[in-house]
């Protein structure tokens, strides 16, 4: 009973987050002059592009009950590979392919360690976090590569024509549609949710849980590779400490968007709302000229709210139900 209730609360959570997002937008546009100005909206989108891209794949992973803390390190490693191979004379298209391939390979390795060797994903990806970041460090050292073809760096940070739409946004939307449809409209998505609800039952229902999880880990690695490419071009730099700490932002955005850390529950639009909420609040704080350092605290509080709120709402509802029964 109680589990069902929590489940229900979690299900309606993404709607609540969407409402909260709209509320933030309304509040922010009243309290600041240029929150909804085209430059600022464009900033909100482009600042959250890597988080969004990694979030698309991370949803699947968290729904299956696993986690990957190494995504930001994969981002750094693919960014380092992009810079290193381009500086070594490879054509840019090849470097981009290498970067994405490295990301995919890292994701596959994580999946292999977790499923085939049966190691806990939390522990292993903490190790992988240090490992991949360390390899990026080993390859680039303190060097930075910032000579990239203008075509690509323009793509990274410029907008389409005179509109506010960042040039990277169409790519993000395509990925979002792909993963959204994959989660909500295909057998693959149903299987993901089934595994999260009960891995045992999923296995007895004939789902190849091991293979499924490896695929999801590999997706996450691939998307982190893509995020690495976009990050590199957005800032026109490849260096080893690119995107440090981003994994926590991605996870908190997912949880904020109603994905349950216990697995089995989550929607794609909830995650999109979660990412945009975090990035909008950040932008709002910046425009209010609130010390940038408060953002770290706000992220932490949002994360705590996202796990505590469903539990508290459920407790409150149950207490009310018992009171009603007695009365």
């Amino acid at each position: 009973m109680s589990e069902k209730n929590t489940f229900k609360v979690r299900k309606s959570w993404d709607t609540a987050i969407l409402a909260l997002l709209l509320a933030v937008w309304v509040l922010a546009s009243f309290t600041t002059d240029n929150f909804l100005s085209s430059i600022n909206v464009s900033q909100i989108f482009s600042n959250s592009s890597e988080i969004m891209i990694m979030g698309f794949a991370m949803v699947f992973l968290i729904i299956t009950g696993e986690i990957d803390l190494s995504i930001a390190s994969i981002l750094a490693l693919s960014s380092a590979m992009l810079g290193w191979s381009y500086a070594a004379g490879a054509p840019i298209w090849l470097s981009i392919l290498i970067a994405m391939a490295v990301g995919t390979a890292c994701g596959f390795v994580n999946g292999f360690l977790v499923t085939k060797l049966g190691l806990g994903s939390l522990a292993v990806t903490i190790g992988a976090l240090a490992l991949y970041r360390g390899i990026a460090n080993g390859i680039l050292g303190t060097e930075t590569v910032n000579e990239f073809p203008e075509f690509w760096t323009t793509w990274g940070f410029d907008t389409i024509g005179t509109t506010f739409i960042p040039q990277t946004l169409p790519v993000i939307i395509i990925f979002g549609l792909f993963f959204g449809l994959l989660l909500h409209n295909t057998a693959f998505g149903r299987r993901t949710l089934a595994i999260g609800q009960s891995p045992e039952a999923a296995r007895f229902a004939g789902i190849n849980v091991t293979r499924h999880k490896i695929i999801v880990f590999t997706f996450t690695g691939f998307m982190s590779g893509v995020a690495g490419v976009i990050y590199t071009f957005r800032f026109s730099t490849a260096q080893a400490d690119n995107g440090i700490g981003l994994e926590l932002l991605v996870i908190s955005a997912c949880l904020l968007g109603g994905v349950s850390i216990f697995g089995g529950v989550g929607t794609m639009w909830g995650v999109v709302a979660g990412v945009l909420l975090a990035s909008s609040v950040e932008s709002w704080l910046t425009l209010q000229e609130i010390n940038a350092q408060w953002r770290t605290i706000v992220t932490g509080i949002l994360l705590l709210i996202s796990v505590a709120a469903p539990v508290l709402v459920d407790k409150y509802k149950r207490a009310r139900a018992t009171a009603a029964n007695k009365g």
Partner: protein, 332 residues
């Protein structure tokens, strides 16, 4: 069964110890300075903070929880202590430890209430407090740094003191804490409860163990040690800024896991954890002696951690099999 359990636990520390001596031997062979008095003192004082934190985290991890906020707490405590000392030149090391401990306990209470009270997943909660506490350092510090001249001389001289020619003061504290925690976890009811809770949390609830109290107190202890470690941070580095000890929580988790505390809880000892921390530091020293670029340090740490987790997994499987075989034999 009891003897088998004992054998496994003892076996773990013994084999870790052998690996440690072996790696110290190899490192000493490549770089003779490593095994001299100076080298030993360096090794011990470099290990002290991580070892302290890993001992503090041991009860939490034994109960199948985790505390990722410790590194932020170390930074917060170190900065606040330095700030208080800069404003009150009369402070000595006593006040430093009082302030540091209080800061740590405050963070521990928050974590404990959320994890033990509301039963929220500890990973997410402490990830949240990691942010909040680090954000707190950023906000209060306002980019102000402190150096040795603002710190009480009594604190810095305490950090310099060595015992028996080899034992730096911080590491002496590690040893004392190791003995206390090791004894407590092994011989008191509360300590045994922790192992029981970690082995099977739902069962611990059903048999009526005080899960809330044990978990809550473990988080307070962990926070307290993190706060104290902030003072040891000042002792060692004699300077602090808002990014002090950033991201080091993973090094602590690594030391604990390598030292035999499984992430699934219910196993591990304080002695193992200290050996684990020493081992990580020794291997770093060995790599430096071999002339491996410092840039690869983190990669090798990560690889070590993954190997340790894998070794742990194999050991656990073997024990499981042995237990099963024994049970079958007893039936027959």
């Amino acid at each position: 069964m009891a003897s088998l359990f004992k054998k496994r636990v003892f076996g773990r520390e013994a084999s870790l110890g052998v690996i440690l001596i072996f790696s110290i031997g190899i490192t000493g062979f490549i770089n003779p300075r490593f095994v001299t008095g100076d080298g030993t003192r360096d090794l011990l004082s470099a290990t002290a903070i991580v070892a302290l934190l890993a001992i503090g985290m041991a009860p939490v991890m034994i109960m199948r929880h985790i505390d990722l906020s410790i590194a932020s707490t170390v930074g917060f405590s170190a900065w606040l202590v330095a700030d208080f000392c800069a404003k009150n030149p009369s402070f000595t090391w006593v006040q430093c430890f009082l302030i540091g401990g209080a800061v740590g306990i405050a963070v521990g209470v928050i974590n404990g209430l959320l994890v033990a009270g509301l039963r929220l997943p500890s990973l997410v909660v402490t990830l949240g407090t990691l942010y909040i506490v680090r954000g707190g350092v950023y906000v209060v510090s306002n980019s102000v740094d402190y150096n040795a001249q603002e710190m009480p001389p009594s604190l810095l001289s305490l950090g310099q003191r060595t015992f028996a020619g080899l034992l730096p003061f911080p590491f002496l504290m590690v040893l004392i804490l190791m003995v206390i925690v090791g004894w407590y976890m092994k011989y008191t009811k509360a300590g045994r409860d922790c192992y029981a809770i970690g082995s099977n949390p739902p069962a611990a609830d059903l048999v009526g163990l005080k899960v809330f109290r044990r978990t809550f107190l473990a988080y307070i202890f962990c926070g307290f040690i993190a706060g104290i470690s902030g003072v040891f941070y000042l002792m060692r580095f004699a300077q602090v800024d808002s990014t002090a000890f950033y991201g080091q929580e993973l090094a602590v988790v690594a030391a604990a896991v390598i030292g035999g505390i499984g992430l699934l809880g219910g196993a591990g000892t304080a002695v193992g954890v200290v050996i684990g921390a020493l081992l990580v530091q020794t291997i770093q020293g060995a790599l430096a002696a071999l002339g491996v670029d410092a840039f690869w340090k983190s990669a090798i740490n990560g690889l070590l951690l993954i190997v340790a987790i894998y070794a742990d997994r194999i050991l656990a499987r073997r024990t499981e099999k042995a237990l099963l075989a024994q049970r079958i034999k007893e039936r027959v």
